[in-house]
C-alpha cells in the first residue's frame, strides 16, 4: 500500500477519533510548553536565591575570623596590609559621601526637569527632551568615569587648586549626572499620573500655574517622587566604574570631598583586579562588602517599591 491510500483510509475513519487523538497530542504539547515557560520564569527566583546563598556562605567564612561588630563598627579598613583591620565604616563613609554629593545635584535638577516636562513643556519640546535624556541614561558608566577623570577633575582644579587628582567631589558630580535622567523620567511618570481634574480644580479657584504645581501636583505625587528619589540613590550606591576611576582607592573616614576616598564598590574592583590569592581572609572581604552592599540596596529598593505601590493605589 502506498502512502496516499493510507491517508485515504485514515480520512474514512470516524471524525471523532481523529480529533480526539489530535487533541491528546495537543494537550500533551501544551503542558510541555507551559512547563518550559514556567522554568524560564523560575530562573529569576533561582538567581535571587543564588545571590543570597553565595553571599551568605562566603560571608559566613569571613565572619569566622572577624567579628560582625568589628566589621560593622570598626573605623580602620586595611585588609590588604599589615596590621590588618576590618572596620568597614571608611568604605561606607566614602559611599555616603558620593551618594550625598550625587543626590544634591541630581534630585533638585531631576525634579525641576520633570516638572518642566510634565507641566510646562509643549509636545514638541517634550519629544525633543525626552529622547535626549534617554540617550544620557544609556551612556555606559565607564564613559562617565572617563569624563570625571579627564574633564570634571581638571575643571575643579582651576577653581580649587588644592584638590587631589582622585577625589570624591568629581566622582559624586558624575554619579549625579548619571542618575539625573532616572530621577527626571520617574518623577515625570509620577506627575503625569496625577489626574488633570485636580489641576483644573485648582485653576478654577484662581491658582497660578506655580501654585498648582507646588500646591497640588507635587503633594499629590509625593510618594511617587519619593520612590524615584530612593531608587536613584540606591543606583548611586551600587555605581562602580565611575567611582573606581575618579574617586581613588584610599579608604578614609572623612567628609572632605576634595581628597581621595574609596567606596564599597571600588574596593571590590580593586581586590579583584589585584593579586590577592582567592580563599585568604583578605580576599574573603569582598564577599562581606558585597553582602552589605546587597542588603543596603535591597532595603532601598523595597522601600521604593512600597512607596510606588501606595502612589498607584491612590491614582490607578
Amino acid at each position: 500500500m502506498n502512502s496516499s491510500s493510507k491517508t485515504e483510509i485514515r480520512s474514512r475513519l470516524p471524525l471523532e477519533t481523529n480529533v480526539f487523538q489530535n487533541r491528546q497530542a495537543k494537550n500533551w504539547r501544551e503542558e510541555v510548553i507551559k512547563t518550559v515557560l514556567l522554568f524560564c520564569a523560575l530562573i529569576s527566583v533561582l538567581t535571587t536565591f543564588a545571590i543570597v546563598f553565595i553571599l551568605a556562605q562566603e560571608t559566613g567564612v569571613f565572619f569566622k575570623d572577624v567579628s560582625v561588630l568589628d566589621f560593622l563598627f570598626g573605623t580602620q579598613w586595611t585588609p590588604l596590609l599589615e596590621p590588618r583591620s576590618f572596620g568597614v565604616l571608611p568604605l561606607v563613609c566614602g559611599t555616603v559621601l558620593i551618594v550625598v554629593g550625587a543626590g544634591s545635584l541630581a534630585l533638585p535638577i531631576g525634579l525641576a526637569t520633570a516638572i518642566y516636562l510634565s507641566e510646562y513643556a509643549s509636545t514638541r519640546v517634550r519629544s525633543l527632551l525626552k529622547p535626549i535624556l534617554e540617550v544620557l541614561a544609556g551612556i555606559p558608566t565607564i564613559v562617565y568615569g572617563y569624563f570625571a577623570l579627564t574633564f570634571i577633575t581638571p575643571l575643579l582644579k582651576t577653581f580649587f587648586p588644592k584638590i587631589q587628582t582622585f577625589n570624591a567631589a568629581s566622582a559624586s558630580l558624575v554619579v549625579g549626572i548619571m542618575i539625573l535622567p532616572m530621577v527626571a523620567s520617574l518623577c515625570d511618570n509620577a506627575f503625569r499620573a496625577v489626574p488633570d481634574s485636580l489641576r483644573q480644580g485648582a485653576y478654577a479657584v484662581g491658582a497660578t500655574q506655580y501654585e498648582v504645581t507646588t500646591g497640588v501636583v507635587i503633594p499629590s505625587a509625593l510618594s511617587g517622587v519619593m520612590a524615584a528619589f530612593v531608587l536613584a540613590l540606591s543606583r548611586a550606591i551600587g555605581e562602580t566604574m565611575a567611582v573606581t576611576l575618579a574617586a581613588g582607592a584610599t579608604a578614609k573616614l572623612t567628609m572632605d570631598p576634595f581628597v581621595s576616598i574609596q567606596t564599597m564598590t571600588a574596593y571590590i574592583v580593586q581586590v579583584s583586579l589585584g593579586d590577592t590569592p582567592a580563599g585568604t581572609i583578605a580576599y574573603q572581604t569582598i564577599f562581606a562588602v558585597s553582602a552589605l552592599l546587597f542588603i543596603i540596596t535591597l532595603c532601598m529598593n523595597i522601600i521604593s517599591h512600597r512607596l510606588l505601590h501606595r502612589f498607584r493605589e491612590v491614582y490607578e
Partner: protein, 286 residues
C-alpha cells in the same frame, strides 16, 4: 495663605516657569559637553590601524581588535541565552500564570533583581560560572553573567509589550478552537514583537557598556588574540577603555577616548536598528 498681591503671584509663576525651563536643559548641555570632549580627545586616534591592532605598551601601536571581537562574541552569546529565557518568562507571567501569591512573589522578585547593583551579579558569576561550573574566564562565563544581569530588563519590557496586545485577539483565536500556545505563537507574539525587540536591544546595549561584572569574573585587559570559541578567554571594549583610562599617561587617556567613540558608535547603531525595526513592524501590523 495665598498672598493677596496678584502681581507678585504672577511674577513668582513666571520666574518658576523660567527656572524649570533653564534647569531642564542641564542634561542636554552636559551630553553636548561630554560628546564634544570625548570627540576632541579621541578622534585623531580613530583610524583603521586602531581597529585592526591588538593592545600594546606603545600608544601609537595600540588598537582594540581583541576588545572589539571579545565584545561581539560576548553580545552574541548573551543574546542567544537571554532572549529565549526572558521572553519565555514574560509569556509565562503574562499569559499562563494564575493570580496567586507565588506569581506575586516572582513579580516582586524580578523588580528587585532589576535594582541589584551590577557588581553583585559579577560576584554571582564569579562563584557559579567561573568556579562551580568551571567555565574559567571564558566568554561563556561572561555572557551567562551578563544574561542574568539583563534578564529582568528583558522580562519587564516584554511583559509590557504583551500586555499591550488587545484581549479580543486572544478571544478570537480561542473561539476558533486554538489552544493557548497556538494563540500566543500565531497572534499574541507577532503583535507584541516590536515592543519585545525594542526592549531586547535596549537591554543588550546596557550589557555592552557594563564593566564591573566582567572585571569580577576576570575578563582580561591585555589580550593579543581573538576568541575562537565560547570557552576562550576574552577582552571587551569597556574593560579596555577602563585599562587605558586608569593609566597616568595622556596618550592612553586619548586612546580611551577613541575606544569610547567606538563604543558609542556601536550603541548608536544598535539603537537605530531598534528604532528602524519598531517602525517597520508597526507599519506592517497596521
Amino acid at each position: 495663605m495665598i498672598s493677596q498681591n496678584l502681581t507678585h503671584r504672577h511674577r513668582v509663576a513666571i520666574l518658576f516657569h523660567g527656572f524649570c525651563f533653564m534647569v531642564s536643559w542641564t542634561g542636554v548641555v552636559i551630553l553636548g559637553i561630554l560628546l564634544f570632549h570625548v570627540t576632541g580627545e579621541g578622534l585623531h586616534w580613530l583610524d583603521l590601524q586602531f581597529l585592526n591592532d591588538f593592545p600594546s605598551r606603545f600608544p601609537e601601536k595600540a588598537g582594540i581588535k581583541s576588545a572589539l571581537f571579545g565584545t561581539v562574541w560576548l553580545i552574541s552569546l548573551t543574546a542567544l541565552i537571554s532572549i529565549p529565557l526572558g521572553v519565555g518568562a514574560a509569556i509565562y507571567l503574562e499569559e499562563y500564570a494564575p493570580k496567586n501569591a507565588f506569581t506575586r512573589f516572582i513579580d516582586l522578585n524580578i523588580s528587585n533583581l532589576a535594582g541589584v547593583p551590577s557588581i553583585v551579579y559579577g560576584m554571582l558569576g564569579l562563584v557559579i560560572f567561573v568556579r562551580w561550573f568551571n567555565f574559567d574566564r571564558s566568554v561563556l562565563a561572561g555572557s551567562m553573567t551578563m544574561s542574568l544581569l539583563i534578564l529582568p530588563i528583558i522580562i519587564i519590557a516584554s511583559r509590557e509589550s504583551l500586555r499591550g496586545v488587545p484581549n479580543t485577539i486572544r478571544q478570537a483565536a480561542f473561539a476558533l478552537g486554538a489552544t493557548r500556545w497556538q494563540t500566543i505563537y500565531s497572534h499574541v507574539l507577532p503583535a507584541s514583537l516590536p515592543g519585545i525587540l525594542t526592549g531586547f536591544i535596549l537591554a543588550l546595549s546596557r550589557s555592552i557598556g557594563e564593566t564591573a561584572p566582567l572585571i569580577m569574573i576576570g575578563a582580561l585587559t591585555y589580550v593579543a588574540f581573538v576568541p575562537e570559541g565560547p570557552m576562550d578567554e576574552f577582552a571587551a571594549l569597556p574593560i579596555q577603555i577602563f585599562n587605558w583610562a586608569s593609566r597616568p599617561q595622556q596618550e592612553f587617556h586619548e586612546l580611551a577616548a577613541a575606544g569610547i567613540l567606538v563604543l558609542l558608535i556601536v550603541l548608536l547603531l544598535m539603537n537605530s536598528v531598534a528604532v528602524f525595526i519598531r517602525h517597520r513592524l508597526e507599519k506592517k501590523n497596521q
